[in-house]
């Protein structure tokens, strides 16, 4: 509560000090300078607000408050005591300066100016305690009422015409004494005033009724002479100070506090609360008045500010226009507008920056002046676009050449659009800008693009040619592949032919072996039968003949076998596998075991070779022929001997077969490997002349070779060279 009061006071102070016009401040200054003494009227008998003590000095809550208020604003006060009616008149006539306690009524507002109310009191009807017949205000009609003369109670009862018998006294004490003694029926006055007076007068038989007097609520203020606004302002200020610094509260406690405590009834308390609340509410209302006043002032100030703003805006607009001109100059742009109703064209200053030649500004500038800025050849396009916009409202954007001047010609980009009002174009406007640089850049760019295109075309052509070439080579390659395929097919055919030929050869061989041998068998068989069955008829020579026939037959048989073997060797497939040389040689020696035994051969073998990878058939044929050859040509030696050795070189294996037989002249070292070549007579060393040829053929097929070292009478060495397969 206290805080709210303080805030309110602060508002009051603020507005109070601001509200009066400057003239008031001047008056206040003069007041302060002159230190005026106020003459103030006071009532003798209106407790506890205004009354006179035993020494004849004015006392009461209102007096104390008035003293506090005037002290706060530095005013001296001198009291003049008088009956209420008298002092009221004194103030109205200007004999005194102020009254500390005046109820504010419409009647009095014509006579005085009031401070804001500091107290609000409700009236009550006081009767003798034996009165029972007053329950409503209408019951007062035929009663005798008494009020203090000139008091607001009198104004109230008369205004409301509460009774036809209204009497007045000089003071309320007199009125109460008369009521207590049985004169009159009721006294109407402020409830708190009445209670206080009855207590002072020790009158016990008079009491207030609970009947409410709704319209007799009295706001009490201080009053000054009508029009004395300077004093009114000082008093309002003082009141604010007193409320704010707590003096009001203290005084209120002093004058009203004990009263409440003595009679602690709920009704009484309510009254007190009302007494406090109502002034506060009124105070609030006053604060609102101040607030509203200040709001008006604020709004006024706002309006002034707006005017200032407007002025500033005008200034800004002006500076903006300057800036626009500057910008137009710098960026080489300009604006135009056209008023169709007046057929008038306006340009911004930029027109001088954009165009080198601008016709003299004249009052009747028409659209022709706009068109005239452009090169005659391009003008028609602009005219068409302009009229189209005028007609349809469509915007246009063109790039045209300016009129030729000494400075040359410029490229201008001009745009135009329209504004509609009531379905008609009422304004056309647009801008133009010097686009010479960008157009030139564009032309340059186009040139560059064209050059690039040319370059691209050339490159593309080159590339196409290369692709064409590549295609041709690809085609050639395809042909080659086709040829290759053809060749492969041919080869396949050839191979098939070859296979067929082989087959034929096989058949031939088959026939040879079968058909040639059958007659041989006949010759041999019947020669033998002839010798056996006709032995007694044959002489020695005849028997010799038969033996020769049979030898020739055997030779022929051998020849056929060897030839068959040779041809088989040529035709047979190579089949590589790991081969143990010692085993192979061992089996060959076993085959020839009879001969070895018969001629007491000494066989030496030093192989020291691992198992080797080769075609066992071919190797077998080669070794067998060499060993059998060695046996044949050395069996006549005194101590026949054969040495078989194995050696390993980096890339080959070497197997040698050495005998101590007849040997041969090295001039035949090549010839002996040819088929049917023989160095000896058949009767000395029988043979077909195929064996060594077979050795040479077998080694050739294995990827190796055979060679020999010999001299007549010193035996012979034959060497087989077998390639290491993993090295091939």
């Amino acid at each position: 509560m206290n805080a709210i009061m303080r805030i309110c006071t602060l508002w009051i102070l603020l507005f109070g000090s601001l509200s009066p016009a400057t003239s008031q401040t001047v008056a206040f200054d003069s007041l302060q300078r002159n230190h005026i003494h106020l003459t103030v009227g006071s009532e003798p008998d209106y407790p506890p607000f205004c009354f006179v003590d035993e020494e004849g000095l004015p006392r009461g809550f209102s007096i104390d408050l008035f003293n506090a208020v005037t002290a706060a604003v530095d005013l001296d006060v001198r009291y003049q005591i008088g009956a209420w009616d008298k002092i009221k008149q004194d103030l109205a006539q200007g004999h005194i300066d102020a009254l500390p306690l005046v109820g504010r009524t419409p009647e009095r507002e014509a006579l005085f100016d009031f401070t804001f109310p500091y107290l609000s009191l409700h009236g009550a009807v006081f009767v003798r305690d034996n009165t029972r017949d007053i329950d409503a205000l209408s019951d007062l009609k035929d009663k005798t009422l008494v009020v203090m003369r000139g008091d607001n109670a009198e104004e109230f009862v008369r205004r409301k015409q509460l009774s036809e018998h209204i009497y007045t006294t000089n003071t309320y004490s007199e009125a109460f004494r008369k009521l207590a003694s049985g004169e009159f029926d009721a006294v109407i006055t402020q409830r708190i005033l009445g209670i206080t007076l009855l207590k002072e007068l020790r009158i016990k038989n008079v009491v207030p009724l609970t009947l409410p007097l709704d319209e007799f609520r009295q706001d009490f203020c201080m009053a000054v002479q009508k029009g004395d606004s300077s004093l009114l302002a000082r008093l309002n200020e003082g009141l604010s100070v007193v409320i704010a610094n707590g003096s009001y509260e203290t005084l209120h406690q002093k004058w009203f506090g004990p009263v409440y405590r003595e009679k602690v009834s709920l009704r009484y308390l309510l009254k007190i609360v009302l007494l406090v609340l109502i002034p506060v509410l009124i105070l609030g209302a006053f604060i609102w008045v101040f607030v509203l006043r200040s709001e008006v002032r604020r709004k006024t100030k706002g309006l002034q500010n707006e005017i200032e703003e407007h002025k500033k805006t005008v200034q800004i607009l002006h500076s903006r226009q300057l800036m626009l001109s500057e910008m137009e100059q710098v960026s080489r742009i300009g604006g135009w507008e056209y008023d169709p109703t007046r057929e008038k064209v306006n340009f911004t200053k930029g027109v001088y920056t954009v165009f080198d030649h601008v016709p003299q500004k004249n009052a009747s500038q028409s659209s022709n002046d706009l068109f005239g800025l452009f090169y005659p050849d391009d003008r028609e396009e602009l005219v068409r676009a302009f009229h189209n916009t005028l007609k349809t409202g469509e915007s246009f954007n063109l790039e045209l050449r300016s009129t030729e001047t000494e400075q040359g010609q410029k490229w201008i980009r001009i745009s135009g659009r329209s504004e509609y009002r009531d379905g008609k174009v009422y304004r056309m406007y647009g801008n133009f800008l010097d686009s010479t640089d960008s157009v030139e850049a564009r032309i340059k760019l186009t040139e560059m693009k064209n050059n690039l295109q040319k370059e691209v075309n050339i490159r593309t052509r080159e590339l196409s040619e290369k692709v064409e070439k590549l295609n041709r080579s690809q085609k050639a390659m395809l042909y080659m592949v086709e040829d290759l395929n053809q060749m492969t097919t041919d080869l396949k055919k050839e191979r098939q032919k070859l296979e067929a030929a082989n087959k034929e050869l096989e058949t031939f061989t088959y026939s040879v072996s079968h058909d040639l041998k059958a007659p041989l068998r006949g010759i041999d068989g019947y020669s033998k039968l002839l010798g056996e069955l006709y032995a007694d008829q044959l002489n020695g020579e005849a028997r010799q003949f038969i033996a020769t026939i049979r030898n020739s037959t055997q030779h022929m048989n051998q020849l056929i076998d060897d030839l068959l073997q040779y041809s088989r060797l040529e035709r047979s497939q190579l089949r590589f596998e790991t081969v143990n040389l010692e085993k192979i040689i061992g089996s060959i020696l076993t085959l020839n075991g009879d001969t070895i035994k018969q001629y007491r051969f000494s066989i030496k073998m030093e192989m020291n070779l691992p198992e080797i990878m080769t075609d066992p058939n071919g190797l077998m044929i080669a070794l067998r022929n060499l060993i059998e050859n060695a046996l044949k040509f050395s069996k006549a030696s005194p101590a026949p001997e054969i040495e078989i050795k194995g050696m390993e070189n980096e890339e080959t294996y070497i197997v040698s077969v050495t005998d101590n037989g007849v040997g041969f002249d090295m001039k035949y070292s090549q010839r002996i490997f040819e088929i049917f070549q023989r160095l000896h007579l058949p009767e000395e060393y029988p043979g077909t002349g195929i064996g060594l040829a077979m050795v040479a053929k077998a080694m050739q097929r294995l990827g190796g070779r055979v060679w020999t070292e010999s001299s007549p009478g010193n035996g012979a060495s034959f060497f087989l060279e077998i390639p290491k397969l993993n090295k091939i």
Partner: protein, 143 residues
């Protein structure tokens, strides 16, 4: 085997008259006890199966030359080896060919022995002796 009536014949399939004569002479030289039935070509060889069905005795061994007119020796061999009864009879190829393919095919077709006819008549007589001894006397054909 001592009873001559029970001796099964040897079937000799041979087209060459010289070979045929010499073979028979070779067997004679060994005083062969089994009778020798002769077929001169493949057809005659297969006819023998018909003859057996008509009551002729089963041969104890078939001596087969590979190079035959009309039906080749290998074909004859294959027919015999598929026949439910004849397949049990041992077949010995007696030929001039020592071709490995012939040897291989013959064995694959189920031949029991493959002998190359020696040109030397002395050796041929040896062969005949061995054939008679082994296939005619030692070997016990399945019943």
């Amino acid at each position: 085997m001592n009873h001559k009536d029970y001796l099964h014949p040897i079937l000799l399939i041979e087209d060459n008259p010289l070979d045929l004569d010499l073979t028979l002479r070779a067997f004679n030289a060994r005083r062969l006890s089994n009778p020798v039935e002769i077929a001169r070509d493949g057809e005659e060889a297969l006819d023998y199966i018909q003859k057996w069905e008509n009551g002729n005795p089963l041969p104890v061994v078939v001596l087969l030359d590979l190079k035959l007119p009309k039906i080749s020796g290998l074909e004859v061999l294959q027919v015999i080896k598929k026949h439910p009864v004849f397949k049990k009879i041992p077949v010995v190829v007696l030929t001039t060919s020592s071709e490995s393919t012939d040897v291989k095919t013959a064995y694959e077709s189920g031949v029991n022995s493959y002998i190359v006819k020696p040109v030397d008549f002395d050796k041929f007589i040896e062969v005949a002796k061995h054939i008679e001894l082994y296939w005619g006397i030692l070997n016990k054909p399945p019943e």
